[in-house]
């Protein structure tokens, strides 16, 4: 039973446009959400996070939106750049403070020049 789902395996956008990556979760106990970015042959790297007490967090070109009632979050990248081409993982944790993250299966973003 996958508690964090990224239903789009891939996304292709033109350079300069907005990229929107989506993530759904089922566990209402999740209270902290993160996005990781992964290049081939590298480990995932942290990108941006959001606590459940917020509905938006922004860091430069990256904004994460959280809709708790819909159990949905999204990552917006604007403007998209070719260097953003990577696999993006959504992850969630609960308040157990164990550091355990539940990951989605990732969305491959391709930004075309």
């Amino acid at each position: 039973d996958q508690q964090v789902k990224q239903n789009s395996p891939s996304l292709s956008v033109q350079e300069g446009r907005i990229s929107i990556l989506n993530c759904d979760y089922t566990n209402s106990m999740f209270d902290y959400f993160l996005w990781y970015k992964k290049y081939p042959a590298e480990g995932p790297t942290f990108l941006i996070s959001i606590s459940s007490i917020k509905d938006k967090n922004e860091d430069g070109r990256f904004t994460v939106f959280l809709n708790k009632s819909a159990k949905h979050l999204s990552l917006h990248i604007v403007p998209s750049q070719p260097g953003d081409s990577a696999v993006y993982f959504c992850a969630a944790s609960d308040a157990s403070n164990t550091g355990k993250l539940i990951f989605g299966q990732g969305t491959t973003l391709q930004v075309k020049p």
Partner: protein, 115 residues
């Protein structure tokens, strides 16, 4: 000076063999993890250690045995390898107690192929 380094990066071995993957972090973190990325690309936690103490053991077969000699190292030993163990294994580390989840720092991964 890689923050989280794991060796080997690639490992090809026969079924039934025993193998180990080593992980070291130089970030001063007190918690380390092993995650497995299977063929469906899901990243799933296997173990976590906090200051050499096992915190999370996610119903992993007992053929998998983590060992943490100190808080900067977390090794993974796998006995009697099976075909289904083929995956990419990621080591990670984090602070705990700073916030609820803590940002994980991942190594580059070790791709294990069992023939």
């Amino acid at each position: 000076d890689t923050a989280v380094s794991q060796t080997p990066k690639y490992l090809v071995t026969q079924m039934g063999n025993d193998k180990s993957i080593k992980c070291e972090q130089n970030l001063g973190h007190d918690t380390m993890y092993w995650y497995k990325q299977d063929s469906k690309k899901f990243l799933k936690i296997m173990f976590s250690y906090n200051n050499k103490e096992l915190i999370i053991n996610e119903t992993v077969p007992n053929r998998f045995s983590p060992k943490s000699p100190d808080k900067a190292h977390l090794n993974l030993h796998i006995n009697s390898l099976e075909l289904g163990d083929s995956a990419v294994y990621f080591c990670a580390s984090s602070h705990t107690g700073v916030d609820l989840a803590g940002e994980l720092f991942f190594g580059e991964g070790s791709r294990l192929t069992v023939l």
